[in-house]
Symmetry: C2
Subunit: 123 residues, 2 copies
DNA sequence: ATTTTTTGCTTGCAAAATGCAAGTTAGAAA
DNA sequence: TTTCTAACTTGCATTTTGCAAGCAAAAAAT
């Protein structure tokens, strides 16, 4: 169970995703990553223990879930829940800030800014 | 100088403000906090060494600046720069997420959601 | 003018989070 | 049946955060 510093919605949001990696993982899911190895392949190079721990935390916080393992897959893929997908607007705002205020940042793929929370967490 | 993990604007934004306190400090500035003691008085209870270090980091990252000390004040107040104020939309999106997806969070004061980047960093 | 208080920090050390490298396990492929 | 690969776990070093105390300069009180 997450311990909240106060009732402030911003501080509370940060108590859940305010670390170095959670939003980077969710960003990758928005643009298509679904498996442990997809996340390991991220350009940011997350350590395996941190990744495993974050996936568990995000799952128990209800932001992601594991889908049923399909034929030929070792385990089920990870998917955003409605609660996790609801972070998309905040991620897009952060990305716009990074693009506009920091020098020489990458331009995110169009599907990132086109993503809508409602397109995720479908059965 | 901030070290960026990659060129991703989201990861880079988090390399600057992706810790437990930076966005909480900026949130407080959006609703009126300007002095060291204002930040110490935040409900979240930041430690003094962390606060001092964050203020320096945010200043050297160009998100906040110190204004000229006025009559009767020990030191100059802190103010958001245009670069720091540009984070307001991301903060508002995070706050909306917290309000909508987490149980029993506080309702931010109206001036928080009414805040516009352009209203800050005026001479 | 001198003491007292407030503001804005710094310092030292403990605790927690992160990072790195190596090892493990269960199912898929050969 | 051996090999491979995806998905982790474990141990330990490094870094970040937190707590408590201390301190200096300016402001306020006497």
């Amino acid at each position: 169970m997450t311990k909240f510093r106060t009732g402030c919605p911003i501080a509370s949001a940060l108590d859940i995703v305010g670390d170095k990696w959670s939003l980077v993982i969710i960003r990758s899911m928005v643009v298509g990553a679904t498996s442990y190895s997809d996340f390991l392949a991220m350009a940011e190079k997350i350590a395996t223990n941190i990744l495993a721990e974050r996936l568990h935390r995000l799952e128990s916080a209800g932001l992601i879930r594991q889908t049923q393992a399909r034929q030929g897959a070792t385990r089920g893929a990870y998917a955003l829940t409605a609660k996790g997908a609801a972070l998309i607007p905040a991620l897009q705002a952060l990305a716009r800030w990074g693009e506009e205020e920091l020098p020489e940042r990458w331009t995110p793929p169009e599907r990132f800014y086109a993503a809508r929370p409602v397109d995720f967490d479908k059965p």
